[in-house]
């Protein structure tokens, strides 16, 4: 089962964990063979948010919601169950400065 771990941080803490520490942690996690994808993101204010309404594409500058903590990166893990996913998520360094939201991936159903 896949679990998406979303890393949330307050803007001023985005660089509180040095990149080299994140790289080292990522290397350790990848060694276990359970990392499907993992990336860090640029700050939310350079995001572009898209919507199509009544056939018209609109674009806004910035994230879809302004929140104190913003999405700073993610890991996509393959794990046996939630306990295993939580144990992996606890090894993502910003867990000590921000929050990690662990979301199970829903497989889309072609009959639905």
């Amino acid at each position: 089962m896949k679990y998406l771990c979303l890393v949330y941080l307050e803007e001023e803490l985005l660089h509180a964990v040095p990149d080299r520490e994140c790289l080292a942690a990522a290397e350790g996690l990848r060694a276990g063979g359970q990392v499907i994808a993992a990336e860090a993101l640029h700050p939310a204010q350079i995001a572009t948010t898209l919507r199509i309404r009544d056939g018209a594409l609109s674009m806004t500058d910035g994230p879809f919601a302004e929140t104190k903590e913003q999405l700073a990166g993610f890991y996509l893990f393959e794990a046996r169950d939630l306990d295993e996913a939580l144990a992996l998520a606890a090894r993502i360094p910003p867990v000590r400065t921000g929050s990690i939201e662990v979301r199970p991936v829903r497989e889309l159903d072609p009959d639905r």
Partner: protein
Amino acid sequence: MMSDASAGAGVEIGAVVAALYRRNSRKVLATLIRLLGDFDLAEEAVQDAFKAAVEQWPRDGIPANPVPWLVSAGRFKAIDGIRRRARFDPLEGDVADRAEAVADGAARWDEGEEIGDDSLRLIFTCCHPALSADAQVALTLREVSGLTTEEIASAFLTPPATLAQRIVRAKAKIRDARIPYKVPEQAELAPRLESVLRVIYLVFNEGYSASAGDSLTRADLSAEAIRLARLVVELLPEPEAMGLLALTLLQESRRAARASADGAIVVLEAQDRSLWNRAQIDEGLAWVDRALGARGQPPVARVGPYAVQAAIAALHARAASAEATDWAEIAGLYDVLVRIQPTPVVALNRAVAIAMRDGPAAGLSLVDALLADKRLHDYHLAHAARADLCRRLGRNAEARASYERAIALARQGPEREFLAARLRALPA
């Protein structure tokens, strides 16, 4: 394997099945959840299994081992049901796959397997920390205790629809986020056990002192909590589990003495100790000794908060009278407790114990320091403690003000009544 079927034994068998249901339906459920991998499917299967027993046992006799029989019957009914649904609804292709997966997994069920492990799996899953605290309590009482949604709702003064929703959501999270159905490994055991014990203690306290309203005790919830604690100790004899069992037994032993005939609170030092339940005290004391004696066994080496609280309750239980209470020992245990559980409420209890040991002035300076802490500012018992200490020091005006504040903050009728009586007894 079958005992003799006697003619006209239908009524008798009905009673046997009813007794089996009361004693074992949760064990059957716990194993079926593992075999079927689904709470709702397993619950349906439990009902079907007992229905099958009522139908078949009068004809075939009562099996020598009824619990494995019920598990097997439930499993077959569930697999049948899934296959039937797959036939009627060919669109649900995955249902057929699921039936085969279940049949396959269920085939590995061996009648000699340890059923106790499944009960433990069920408890740990219901108390998984990824579920909200409210959901853990509701799910444990529903699945492990077998209470109905209505019973739980009325015990917690929650609308039944809210409670039902809470249980449905929790089950959906267990299924969709794949919360595992297992006893945690040794490395995770201590924190996970803590979560289980917290749920049990919450249930106990809800029964011991209603959080709101005029009914001070709801004995069945406390009795159920003690039953759950006993079950955990039996399946997982960890010192903290023994500590919780001891603590709940020792508190429960005072139930008959803690309220007067008209429902007024009787505080510990004023209780008629002959009303204390001897059997519960003896059992509680034995568990305290075992909890403390089991010290030094890794990895749950440290003495935990439940064992220390039980040791404090044991000192009260052992004292022949309020005057004979060993306050020096109790204050010492609170020093230990406040180190391992540094909460303001524990600190308040420690201050009260120190006041009993060293006199009210020593206690008052500690309580005043604690009241400066925002977290205790609206806690009625902190103000009640301050009022009592001021009264003992003859500072009546301050005592009056603190009793009034405590009464304004107390949520239970009997507690307000008790504090009002103390206030009235103050010299003008």
